[in-house]
């Protein structure tokens, strides 16, 4: 039971990250390959403030939000005017730098030894974990409501126009640089928030949590679900994380003698689903329906 709650809480973190990537890439066209960097910065910042400097959780969370927002804003100023591929490399490099600093700055992060223990911000006995799950659920629902509103708002129209043709949008008097920077800062800060909230979930932080595969998992989920659809992130994480990591890996009823095969079987199926979706629905499972994705195929 405890493991199930931990897993679905972690799934909510992934949903949140994918939702934010939907805003960044699906709506605005910014290919952020540094997700694990913002998430990890948030997680380690709370960890360091909490464990090393005895901040209690809420002040640590607020400081962390500010720190990640500041870093994202600075990075945004440098990279948002670059071409797509350069942005991709720059964000990926950013996350590598975060991971490296966590290893080298031992006085702060304890390096490869690991940093802990980070306790939950409240103690409700056996209800602590379920309550914490509810908090994350509220955040994810909140982000989803924001996305739904954004899709039909005037700002949403402007965002789509920037993704389609930024230069043309600017020539109509739109301050595209400012809008992009604002949204990038906000969404990256929220990635940091999800990281901060992941700290008590993981309790003990190690540098190997900051590997790029976190970023890739979020990307795969979003592409699979449909990057332009408002619900693509949620569906994508349900398929990748929910179906494969949770259901098949942990809860598939198999005879013990076959259990060793499960991870390989899972990877095989995962690959097959990915290939099938990209072949038959290149814009993701939700890619063709009109509701969230405004684009209609000619």
């Amino acid at each position: 039971m405890a493991y199930l709650i931990f897993s679905i809480t972690l799934m909510l973190v992934y949903i949140g990250l994918a939702q934010l990537l939907h805003i960044q890439f699906g709506m605005l066209g910014i290919p952020n390959f540094g997700i694990v960097g913002f998430w990890g910065l948030g997680m380690y910042s709370v960890g360091v403030l909490n464990v090393q400097w005895d901040f209690s959780f809420i002040p640590a969370l607020i400081l962390t939000l500010l720190l990640v927002a500041l870093v994202a804003n600075g990075l945004g100023r440098l990279i948002l005017k670059l071409e797509g591929q350069a942005m991709l490399c720059a964000t990926l490099a950013f996350s590598a730098i975060v991971a490296l600093l966590v290893i080298t700055e031992k006085w702060l992060t304890e390096g490869v030894v690991g940093l802990g223990t980070i306790k939950y911000p409240f103690d409700a006995g056996a209800m602590t974990e379920p309550l914490y799950f509810l908090i994350l659920l509220l955040i994810v629902v909140g982000i989803q409501l924001f996305i739904n509103k954004l899709h039909v708002s005037r700002l949403g129209t402007l965002i789509f126009s920037i993704r389609d043709n930024e230069e043309l949008a600017a020539s109509l008097g739109k301050d595209t640089v400012k809008i992009k920077l604002e949204l990038f800062t906000l969404t990256c800060a929220l990635m940091g928030l999800l990281g901060a909230l992941s700290a008590p979930l993981n309790q003990f932080l190690t540098p190997n949590m900051l590997v790029p595969s976190v970023t890739f998992a979020v990307w795969i989920a979003l592409i699979l679900g449909g990057k332009e659809h408002s619900m693509g992130a949620v569906l994508g994480v349900f398929i990748t994380f929910g179906l494969f990591d949770l259901l098949i890996e942990s809860y598939l009823p198999v005879a013990p003698e076959y259990a060793v095969m499960v991870p390989n079987f899972k990877l095989f199926l995962y690959g097959a689903v990915l290939v099938a979706v990209l072949m038959y629905r290149p814009r993701g499972v939700l890619g063709h329906s009109a509701a969230g994705a405004r684009q209609e195929l000619p």
């Binding site: 924001f146 700002l155 126009s161 389609d164 109509l172 405004r294 000619p298």
Partner: protein, 249 residues
């Protein structure tokens, strides 16, 4: 009084000069033409004037309604905001926006495009929606509530998007290339009407010289990045240099 004046404006790509104007000025007449052979630098000049292309050197001053704007420090969205707008020679558009949304985008003030406004119910004013309806009733699109599909529709939408911004000065880069003849006439009548009604100024780049002679009060002639001649249409028509370099007479 309106004046868009350039001085010593030059643009080079990889040390290769494509534009070099000692001085030129636009906006003294309501409709002016800018003509010249292919590669003369007409589009480059319009890109420089709207700050979409960074100049190598020079100054651009836009005087409008007793205000004096130095355009060099501005970015392209600021130039549009003070009323200098350009339509595009190459077809450009927003592929995921419907025709109506595209026009709405142009009319939406920045205050309705903030993060805060995502949660407010504020709509475009009825007057603006009525104006969009008016344009869409006068100019025919196959599906006014759908997407612009043909090249002609995209070109027309590009022009309407600029007109609905109510610019002080509109630069039109080959507006009629790709437009059917009847739509061309409709567009020309509309801009002529608006120059009178809204005191808007137009500069048109065109290879269709009949259109230039019949609509423009003043014509600039550009060759190899230099303004070789300018004057009234009849003077330009009669000019020997223009005849030699462009009309092929």
């Amino acid at each position: 009084m309106m004046n868009l004046a350039v001085r010593n404006l030059s643009k080079s790509y990889h040390q290769h000069p494509v534009l070099n104007l000692t001085q030129a000025s636009f906006g003294k007449h309501s409709i002016e033409g800018l003509i010249g052979p292919n590669g003369a630098g007409k589009s480059t000049l319009m890109g420089l004037l709207t700050r979409r292309i960074p100049p190598t050197e020079g100054s651009i001053i836009f005087e409008v309604e007793d205000k004096h704007h130095d355009l060099i420090p501005l970015s392209s969205h600021q130039v549009a905001q003070i009323g200098l707008v350009k339509t595009n020679q190459r077809i450009q558009g927003f592929e995921s926006l419907t025709i109506r949304d595209s026009l709405r985008l142009a009319c939406t003030p920045p205050t309705q495009e903030t993060l805060k406004s995502v949660f407010s119910k504020e709509q475009l004013s009825e007057a603006v929606e009525a104006e969009i309806d008016d344009y869409l009733s006068r100019f025919t699109f196959n599906e006014p509530d759908g997407y612009a599909r043909s090249a002609g529709e995209k070109k027309l939408l590009d022009i309407l998007r600029c007109l609905i911004l109510k610019p002080k000065m509109l630069l039109m880069d080959e507006p009629t290339a790709g437009l059917p003849e009847d739509v061309t006439q409709q567009v020309m009548q509309e801009i002529t009407r608006q120059t009178k009604a809204n005191d808007m100024r137009i500069v048109i780049v065109e290879h269709d010289l009949e259109l230039i002679w019949s609509f423009c009060e003043y014509v600039h002639f550009l060759v190899d990045g230099e303004m070789l001649f300018e004057g009234k249409p009849e003077d330009v028509k009669a000019n020997r240099v223009v005849a030699e370099k462009y009309l092929g007479l």
